[in-house]
């Protein structure tokens, strides 16, 4: 995969991120997300650029870039598929999904599948830790969007749809964008997809639906004074 050079526009945006914070170095995590968005991975050039803007050493930036798992030294696919194999998802079928995808894509953990003749997009595969969607287990993430309640078959169908370039929607979110586009959102530059997808998925609403059926609510506020009127209130 060729790496595009950092454009002046990106350098300006890196400066813009640093300026959001009282101390510029606070911008480093989102800045590294932007480097990934611009170049497809953490590059030596991107590290040098962050270091120069923040007036710290490249070694310090490197130390941060190697600590966090979302930063990639090598390229990932247009669609980075993460299968949760933490205990609950693993038990519910995450292990089987991960094995099936490795087998189907003929790759190991954290690798990019070969782009076959006719594939318009690439996919990569990684096993991930708990992604806070346990009520939808087993969970697969694609470019950090939720694909809830997966099976080995549904996961294979999904990666094939992605490779073919078909539009795929998150089960609880928007149309999937590419990994590099998603990294730009993480850097703090919204992409206009916020209003896609539902308010909540079915499992999120499980308790609320029962409350609605049975007429259960929080207590009426009227029963207690709006604010505890303290003597100190003049």
């Amino acid at each position: 995969m060729s790496t595009p050079p950092l454009e002046d526009k990106t350098i300006a945006e890196l400066r813009e991120i640093a300026a959001r914070y009282p101390e510029p170095r606070s911008g480093l995590l989102p800045m590294l997300h932007l480097v990934q968005s611009a170049q497809g991975r953490i590059t030596p050039e991107g590290i040098e650029a962050c270091a120069a803007i923040l007036e710290i050493s490249a070694a310090e930036v490197n130390g941060v870039a190697t600590f966090y798992t979302m930063y990639k030294r090598h390229g990932v696919g247009d669609f980075h598929v993460g299968v949760c194999t933490n205990t609950l998802c693993a038990v519910m079928g995450g292990d089987a999904i991960f094995e099936r995808l490795k087998d189907h894509l003929e790759i190991g953990n954290d690798e990019v599948a070969v782009q076959r003749q006719g594939d318009s997009r690439t996919v990569s595969l990684e096993h991930i830790e708990c992604n806070a969607a346990c009520d939808y287990a087993p969970v697969v993430m694609v470019n950090w969007e939720f694909m809830d309640n997966q099976t080995p078959d549904s996961a294979v169908q999904m990666v094939e749809a992605l490779r073919a370039g078909h539009e795929v929607r998150s089960t609880r979110g928007p149309r999937l964008c590419t990994w590099r586009e998603a990294e730009r959102v993480l850097a703090g530059f919204p992409d206009g997809r916020v209003d896609e997808g539902p308010s909540a998925g079915p499992a999120s609403l499980a308790g609320l639906e029962i409350a609605r059926q049975r007429g259960w609510t929080a207590p009426e506020p009227g029963a207690t004074p709006a604010v505890e009127a303290k003597e100190s209130d003049a």
Binding site: A203, A211, W216, A223
Partner: protein, 441 residues
């Protein structure tokens, strides 16, 4: 006596476009700001103290008391940081909350920042949830446009109160340890997420060595209703020392996994009743009350009140109310090994007991899961736990020992069965979500 379920934070989740300001405002959203601005900041702190709200991130520290530790005579700026790094295995409440109701968090941030006299607040969201980050980014932008943030619509402060606040939404980059509050601050300062020595506590020297309050998403989101409805209203839910509502997250082998917002003190038996019970034809084997760092409980604990005191008395911790349910098809050794691999992977490497200890735990558990070794290895496993628990720099190491020691306590026989069997006696295919369908096919 309140109802069995008490939707407050989740109440708007079934509304059309519940994440939009218009939807939130139509239900009285941002009304609490004017109530608070008519009060002194100290009185807002007092109201939150009086409500009995305790931290919803797991530790249960009284929120109002935490705020009162901010030294107001310190001339440095004060900061509020929201810990939205939800990563504890099993925990899945803050993510749907921010997806479906981001404005209640933003309103809570404004009220809380006003109380501690902060003019800058940060929402640190784990990076692996892009759509949630979109929703919070948009909610903050809408709040600015409506005059609920910044310097207000007339430049005279929010709602012309003279009080100004800026919020920065910050995406993390993949590190469970950043849920630890001082490691989170390191991440927010652009460094490796390794915990800091305490004292000084963040209230004295936190972000940029300035007084800083760090609160969980659900804690902050609980503040608007407390300010609007009063401390007594909040305290009318829950138990004597664990007041108010909380989101309980049921996952795993239950008929209807999901989010159930109830008064603290509800039991797993009651929650399972609502959720249709354990999956058909199976029995409860073990569960976590609040994520993988809270010691495992079993069917004998079905009637433990799920509040801070009740779960503590049962030998575990309420934690994040992440109720992961495992039935009899699940091998407890496999489950614990997998959690231990997680802790080993996420150990930040700063302190030896955790960095080395979690590595050794994985070695020992792998052997046991494969049926290798002897009963003496079980004692060695517990010895290793003793050398980590209480000797680690932060709670990650302590938490890593919880599933190990509690599983040996409750399921020693099952570990021994692995040795007798010369391997794992369980078929993992039977635990999957689709196992029933395949067997009958």
């Amino acid at each position: 006596m309140s109802d069995v379920l008490t939707p407050v934070l989740t109440d708007i989740w079934d509304a059309e476009q519940s994440w939009k300001l218009a939807t939130y405002a139509a239900r009285g959203g941002y009304d609490a700001l004017d109530v608070a601005f008519a009060m002194s900041p100290d009185d807002v702190i007092t109201a939150v103290k009086d409500s009995g709200l305790r931290g919803r991130g797991g530790a249960g520290f009284p929120t109002g008391m935490k705020w009162s530790f901010i030294p107001q005579d310190n001339p440095k700026p004060k900061y509020l940081v929201v810990n939205a790094d939800e990563s504890e295995p099993g925990t899945c409440k803050d993510i749907p909350l921010m997806m479906g109701n981001p404005h209640v968090l933003v309103e809570g941030v404004i009220l809380s920042s006003y109380a501690i006299r902060a003019n800058k607040a940060f929402i640190y969201i784990r990076g692996e949830v892009v759509h949630v980050i979109r929703r919070v980014q948009a909610a903050v932008a809408e709040a600015y446009a409506a005059g609920h943030l910044g310097t207000g619509l007339n430049g005279k402060g929010i709602h012309d109160s003279g009080y100004n606040l800026d919020i920065v939404v910050h995406a993390g980059a993949g590190a469970y340890i950043c849920g630890e509050e001082t490691a989170l601050l390191e991440g927010l300062e652009g460094r490796r997420g390794q915990p800091r020595l305490r004292p000084p506590f963040p209230a004295v020297a936190g972000l940029y060595a300035s007084p800083t309050v760090i609160n969980n998403v659900e804690s902050i989101a609980s503040v608007p209703a407390i300010v609007k409805n009063g401390a007594a209203w909040f305290g009318s839910m829950g138990t004597e020392k664990s007041k108010g509502h909380g989101i309980f997250s049921l996952s795993g082998h239950v008929q209807k996994p999901g989010q159930y917002e109830a008064p603290l003190g509800i039991t797993l038996r009651e929650l399972l009743d609502l959720a249709g019970g354990v999956r058909e034809g199976h029995q409860l084997k073990f569960w976590t009350p609040g994520g993988s760092s809270t010691p495992l409980l079993t069917a004998e604990h079905l009637d433990v009140p799920l509040d801070f005191e009740g779960v503590g008395a049962a030998g575990s911790m309420l934690g994040t109310r992440a109720l992961q349910i495992f039935d009899e098809t699940v091998c407890v050794v496999r489950a614990v090994l997998r959690w231990t691999e997680f802790y080993k992977h996420e150990s930040c490497g700063k302190c030896t007991p955790c960095r080395e200890g979690t590595w050794w735990l994985v070695q020992a558990l792998t052997r046991l899961e494969n049926g290798q070794g002897s009963e003496a290895d079980l004692d060695q496993l517990l010895d290793q736990c003793d050398n980590i628990l209480g000797r680690s720099f932060c709670a990650l190491g302590d938490g890593a020992t919880s599933p190990v020691s509690s599983s040996v306590q409750h399921f020693r026989e099952e570990y021994l069965a692995h040795l007798a069997h010369g391997g794992c006696p369980f078929d993992p295919a039977r635990s999957t979500a689709w196992s029933g369908t395949e067997v009958s096919a």
